[in-house]
């Protein structure tokens, strides 16, 4: 990592880091509302290219909401509102240059619950993104194999590519969802607690997958699991919602630093399991 950060790297120093960090994704002044309720306040975060960024924090602190603002899924919720900007390679994804569908093609998402299309086969699931975006591909078999290999699922399903996606186990389904997202070749992959519905073995497989894909994709992952954040992420952002204050980033920086020598006592308490 070519990142230079002070131990107390936080939102104030984000502007300094912009010059030294190759930002794939940059959120500036993000505030979110559901109806009149404000759930996020002035969140700034730089997500460096080809790294894994973990968003941590107790339930209800707005990490998932923040994640959904990064590829315009937030706006699909009725009554949702948003302020601020998100830059993908310095282009505002909420600006006129990018359509929502194109943005989501470039910034993929894996959800908490595995949701492969149940009526489609494994192969069709992997190719579903291409069908949805009307993308033609020369050799679809090759792409299916590539995406499934990337998602470490190929060995388990290579002989049943025509089986329905819904017939796989939970962990396999989640990796199928990852393969499906990878098949449209996104630059960023957002993961909203991808392992919370999985058993430890499946979790391990998904984590391996994350480490592997981070070679050429930027991964932003929301997780409740401190060990997982430590295992998979390069940098971390700690979200917190306090009484009378909507969710915000308390501290962000290198994962190692955040877990061993956090600048804020609240971070220290949280990563050591004293609340949340």
């Amino acid at each position: 990592m070519s990142i230079t950060m002070s131990p107390a790297h936080n939102i104030e120093s984000a502007a300094v880091n912009e010059r030294t960090v190759d930002a794939a994704l940059r959120a500036e002044g993000i505030s979110c509302w559901f109806g009149k309720r404000k759930v996020l306040e002035d969140v700034n975060l730089v997500m460096e290219r080809n790294t894994v960024v973990a968003l941590i924090g107790p339930s209800g602190c707005g990490k998932s909401t923040f994640l959904r603002t990064l590829n315009r899924m937030h706006e699909l919720t009725p009554t949702a509102a948003l302020a601020g900007a998100v830059y993908l390679n310095d282009v505002d994804i909420y600006g006129p240059e990018l359509k929502a569908s194109v943005t989501r093609q470039r910034i993929g998402m894996v959800f908490q619950k595995p949701n492969p299309f149940p009526a489609m086969s494994v192969r069709e699931n992997v190719l579903s993104g291409l069908k949805l975006t009307g993308t033609k591909v020369g050799n679809s078999e090759e792409l299916v194999q590539w995406a499934l290999l990337k998602a470490s699922l190929w060995e388990e399903v290579k002989n049943r590519l025509d089986a329905p996606g819904g017939s796989l186990s939970g962990g396999q389904q989640q990796r199928l969802c990852i393969a499906r997202s990878l098949a449209v070749k996104p630059e960023v992959l957002l993961m909203d607690e991808p392992c919370s519905a999985l058993d430890p073995t499946s979790t391990r497989r998904v984590e391996e997958t994350i480490s592997e894909i981070a070679d050429d994709i930027t991964v932003v992952i929301v997780t409740h699991n401190m060990q997982q954040a430590q295992r998979v992420s390069d940098t971390c952002a700690f979200f917190l919602a306090e009484e009378n204050r909507p969710g915000h980033i308390v501290e962000s920086g290198l994962t190692e630093q955040m877990f061993t020598n956090p600048a804020d006592p609240r971070t220290n308490d949280y990563v050591n399991g004293r609340f949340g």
């Binding site: 989501r104 299309f117 149940p118 069908k131 997202s181 449209v184």
Partner: protein, 297 residues
């Protein structure tokens, strides 16, 4: 209590079927199988001719026209309300569609006859002029209107509310995670509708269409007001004439003789069985079409 209520409706259905059968028996017995195969309807002639074939044919043709016209309108409306309309407009649109269902069918019939018949005749002339190579638009008649086509269009408007309401409910049932998955892959709304919503709600949509069909089959007064019943079986849908069971009964019953009434009740029995089967199949399809197994809610 509820069992009793359910039984009551079964009993009423059974009684109606028995009533129709008993009353229709004399005519049906006399005509034999010809009752179902003969075209001519002249119960007071010598010899008396009872044939419901042309009425059954007309009924089905009109209902199919209605369905073909109503289905795209209904599904389009349902999709617009579910997926595109602003939240505040949704409720207004739903009640507007429901309001359409509240219009009495006699009003639809009168409006169809006095207002819609003329422009639809012009459209018929256009269809005849340019598409007469299609058998259903080919006719030797000199006039258009008061036809299967006009009836079908008016009936289409009458069945739009029920098809819209059911297909809206069915399509709203599609689990959101799958819709979100489609959008998160970069799909447009249209893509999501095509790849996720339609495959998921296919069965329910078929059921909605069949319930609409059931209603169109049984519609009486609008047909009686619009169609100039002459008992012909016609392949074309633009010229005046044809027949339809419910319309036939409404028009002929008042002036019918004892024989005639018996025959008309026989026609009613045929209609009763026809709509019963269509509705039963529709209900079955709707209830069978739950999301596939393994689907997360």
């Amino acid at each position: 209590m509820t069992t009793a209520a359910a039984m009551a409706s079964l009993v009423v259905m059974g009684l109606i079927a028995i009533f129709l059968f008993v009353k229709a028996w004399p005519a049906m017995h006399q005509a034999g199988w010809h009752f179902f195969t003969r075209f001519q309807w002249d119960p007071d002639g010598a010899p008396a001719l009872y044939g419901v074939a042309s009425a059954v044919y007309g009924t089905v043709v009109i209902a199919i026209i209605a369905l073909v016209v109503a289905l795209p309108i209904s599904i389009g409306t349902a999709l617009y309300i579910n997926e595109y309309a602003p939240r505040r407009a949704q409720r207004i649109l739903v009640s507007l569609v429901d309001l359409l269902a509240a219009i009495p069918s006699v009003v639809f019939g009168l409006w169809g006859r006095d207002v819609l018949n003329k422009p639809l005749s012009d459209i018929s002339a256009f269809l005849y002029k340019y598409f007469r190579f299609v058998p259903i638009f080919h006719t030797k008649a000199l006039f258009f209107g008061n036809s299967f086509f006009v009836c079908g269009i008016v009936l289409a408007l009458m069945i739009v509310p029920i098809i819209t309401a059911i297909s809206r409910a069915v399509m709203a049932e599609v689990p959101r995670p799958y819709c979100e998955a489609a959008l998160a892959l970069g799909g447009t709304k249209a893509g999501m509708i095509k790849e996720v919503i339609f495959p998921f709600s296919k069965g329910g949509l078929v059921g909605a269409a069949m319930l609409g069909l059931g209603r169109a089959l049984g519609e009486t007064i609008a047909v009686a007001l619009i169609l100039s019943i002459n008992g012909n079986i016609m392949t074309n849908i633009l010229a005046p004439g044809g027949s339809a069971i419910a319309g036939l009964i409404a028009v002929k019953f008042g002036e019918a003789s004892v024989n005639g009434r018996s025959a008309l009740l026989g026609a009613g029995l045929v209609l009763f069985l026809l709509t019963l089967v269509v509705n039963l199949v529709a209900r079955l399809v709707v209830t069978r079409s739950r999301p596939p197994k393994g689907a997360t809610k």
